[in-house]
Amino acid sequence: MGAACTAAPNAFTRLIQFVSTSKTQLTELVNSIFYTGLYATLALGLTLVFGVMRLVNLAHGDLIIAGGYLGVFFGVNLGLDPLVALLLIVPVMMALTYPIQRGLLNPLLAVGEEPPLVATFGISLVIETVLQIGYSSNAQSLNPSYGVTGIDILGTNVRVIFVIALVIGVILVLATHFALTRLRVGKALRAASEDAEAAASLGINVKHIYALTFAVAAGLSAFAGIELGVAFSLTPTAGLSWLLIAFTVIVLGGMGSVLGTLVGGFAVALAQEYGSLAFGPQYQDLIVFGLLVVVLVIRPNGIFGRRLG
C-alpha cells in the first residue's frame, strides 16, 4: 500500500516532466485540464441516472442541447446572460423532466431494462423535433464576451468559457458527491440504487427518488448545454455526438461514479489532445472512441468499476 502511494506521485511527477518537455506538450496538458470541466459536466447527469437506475439515458445528449436552447430562449426574450439564465433553466429542466421519469420511465423500469432504454430514444427524438420546430435547423449560438475571450495560463491561451466550465464542473461534481454521501436524500438515493426493494421496505419512496434523480440529472445537463452553446454552437441534432463523449467519460471514469467523471473527463481530454498531437487532429474522434471500445472490452464497468457516489 505504502509503495503504491509513493509510486503514484512519482509517476505523476514523471508524467508532468514528460509533458513539460516542450511548449506544445504543455499546451496540450493545459487544454486537457480545462476541457475536463466541460466533459465532467457533460457526463455527470448520465452517470447519476445510470448509477441510480442502471438506465443508459439515450436522451441525455438532447437534454444537454435543450438546456443550451433554453439559454438561447431566455437570452432572446429576457436578455439574460447564459450563466445567469441557468437560475431559470435548471428549475425549468427539472420541472419538465420529473414527470417524464415518474409517469413514463418508472412504469417501464418495472417491465425490464430494454423498454426504458427504447423510451429514452423516443424522448431524444421528441426533443430534437421540438427544437427543430421552435428554432429551425440553423445552428444557434450563445455569444457572451467570455465565449470569445481568452486568458494566458502557463503560456497557453485558454478560453474563459473553459475556465468557467472547469470551476462549474468541479463544484457540481463535488456538490453532487457531497449530496450523495452526506445528505439524507443522497443516502436514500444510494439505498435505492443498491436495492430498490429493500429501500422501499424501509419507507423510501423509490419512485420519487428515481424521478428526482432524472430531474436533477437534467438540471445538471443544462450547465453543459450552456457551456456548449457558448464555446461552440448548437443544432437540434447535436446531442448524439455529445452523448458519445459523455458515455466515454463515464466508461473511463467508472459507470455510476460521480467523482469518476472528473477522472474520465480528464482522460478523454488527454486522449483527444495528445492523440491529436501524435496522429493529427483528424484522428481525434477515432482515438477517443477507440479507447472507449478497448475499455469496454477489457473492463465493461469502466476503469474504476461501478459504484454510485
Partner: protein
C-alpha cells in the same frame, strides 16, 4: 409530382430550409399559371419532400422511394456535394432528371464519366477560388494564407484549387489545415495559422463547425485582415447565430438583387420574410432553388411528357432568363454562374468584389474578429 430529398435536419439543414422556400416560390408561380403540361393537359405541381438528415446514405434510398413508390417525374436539387453526388447517381440509375445548385467541380468529381440526368446551375470553383485572392487584393495584407478545409468533396476540391491558385495571385499558403466535418476543437489549427503569420483566412466548412472556429479565432486573438467562410457563411444563419462576430466575414455568392434578374422582388420579399428582414446568401439559396425548379418545370412542359428521358432532353435545351440569370447548359451539364465576393455586415451581405453599382469596398481587418 416532383421529388425532393433535402436536408431539413443535420449539419446542412440551413441550406435545405432555404431551398424549400425557393422551390415553393417556383411551384406557386407555375401552379398559378395552371401547372405543367403533360400530354396536352395542365397538371398542378406537387412536391414530395423527404428529409435526408444531411446523410448521403439516406439520399439514395429516398430517391428510389420518391420515384418507385411516389412516382416523382423529376427531382428538385439538394444542396452540397456530399448529398447531390448520390442523388445524381441515383437520377442516372432511375432515368429521372435532377436540376440543382452545387459547386460544379466538386459535383463533377463524383462521377468520372459525367452525369446524364443531373444538371447544375452554380459557380465553377476554378473561377470561384480566384475571387478570395482578388478580393484580398483590395486591402493590404502580407499575402500569407491559412486554409481551413473540411474533408467533404467541396472542401477537398476547393482546398486543392486554393493551393494551386495562391501563387498565381502572389499569395502563399502558410497553413493548410484539413479535418473531418464535426470537428469542434480548432485550437491547434489556429495556433499553426497564427504562428505562420497568416493574414488571409479561407475556410470551407459546414456551418456549425465554422461557428466554433470563428469563436475560437476571436478568443485566441487571431484577427486576420480578410476572412472567407465559404459554404459555412453561405446561409442566413451565419449572421443570426454569431451576431456581431459575423461582421466582416466574406463569402462568394452568385445572386444579388442589385442585378435585377427576373423575379428578384419576389425573392427579396420571401427572403426578408423568412430571414428577419435581412438579405444575405440565404436569399441567394432561395434564388438558386427558384431557378432550378423553374428550369425543371419548364422542361416538363416543353417535353409535354412525364417521361424522364424526354424531360431530360428538354432540360438540355434550356436557353433563357431565370432568377439566377441566363441559363444555357454546357455539354457537361452545367451552367456556370460567375461568382463574386460579398461581406457580412449586421446580418446582411453586400458585394465587395468586383466593384458594382450598389456594392461597397472591402472592410478590413475583419470587424467581428477584431
Amino acid at each position: 409530382m416532383l421529388g425532393a430529398t433535402i436536408p431539413l435536419t443535420g449539419s446542412l439543414a440551413a441550406f435545405g430550409a432555404q431551398e424549400k422556400i425557393g422551390d415553393q416560390l417556383a411551384v406557386a408561380q407555375i401552379n398559378a399559371a395552371g401547372g405543367v403540361k403533360i400530354d396536352g393537359t395542365k397538371h398542378k405541381v406537387v412536391v414530395d419532400y423527404l428529409d435526408n438528415q444531411s446523410l448521403p446514405n439516406l439520399v439514395t434510398s429516398q430517391a428510389h422511394t420518391l420515384v418507385l413508390q411516389d412516382h416523382a417525374i423529376g427531382f428538385l436539387g439538394t444542396p452540397s456535394p456530399p448529398l447531390i453526388i448520390p442523388l445524381s447517381l441515383a437520377a442516372d440509375q432511375l432515368k429521372v432528371p435532377v436540376v440543382h445548385n452545387n459547386p460544379i467541380q466538386a459535383w463533377l468529381s463524383g462521377s468520372k464519366s459525367g452525369y446524364t440526368y443531373s444538371w447544375d446551375v452554380f459557380f465553377n470553383e476554378t473561377q470561384q477560388t480566384t475571387t478570395q485572392f482578388l478580393a484580398s487584393d483590395e486591402v493590404k495584407t502580407n499575402k500569407k494564407v491559412a486554409l481551413f478545409d473540411d474533408t467533404t468533396p467541396d472542401g477537398i476540391t476547393m482546398g486543392k484549387l486554393w493551393t494551386q491558385n495562391a501563387p498565381k495571385y502572389g499569395y502563399k499558403v502558410v497553413a493548410n489545415e484539413s479535418f473531418p466535418a464535426g470537428t469542434t476543437d480548432f485550437s491547434s489549427y489556429i495556433a499553426a495559422a497564427k504562428s505562420a503569420g497568416a493574414q488571409v483566412v479561407i475556410a470551407q466548412m459546414v456551418p456549425p463547425d465554422a461557428e466554433a472556429l470563428w469563436k475560437q479565432m476571436k478568443a485566441d486573438n487571431f484577427d486576420p485582415k480578410t476572412a472567407f467562410c465559404e459554404k459555412c457563411s453561405y446561409q442566413n444563419g451565419w449572421g443570426s447565430a454569431l451576431g456581431s462576430l459575423a461582421n466582416g466575414t466574406m463569402v462568394s455568392d452568385v445572386w444579388s438583387p442589385v442585378f435585377k434578374y427576373p423575379d428578384y422582388q419576389a425573392i427579396v420579399a420571401a427572403s426578408k420574410k423568412a430571414f428577419g428582414g435581412k438579405i444575405n446568401p440565404g436569399a441567394s439559396n432561395v434564388a438558386g432553388a427558384y431557378t432550378v425548379a423553374l428550369v425543371l418545370m419548364d422542361a416538363i412542359t416543353k417535353a409535354n411528357s412525364s417521361n424522364g428521358t424526354a424531360i431530360n432532353k428538354a432540360i438540355g435545351e434550356t436557353n433563357g432568363m431565370f432568377p439566377s440569370g441566363h441559363v444555357k447548359f454546357t455539354s457537361q451539364h452545367y451552367y456556370a454562374v460567375k461568382a463574386f465576393q460579398t461581406q457580412w455586415r449586421n446580418g446582411n451581405t453586400v458585394i465587395v468584389w468586383p466593384k458594382v453599382t450598389g456594392g461597397s469596398s472591402v472592410q478590413a481587418p475583419v470587424a467581428g474578429l477584431k
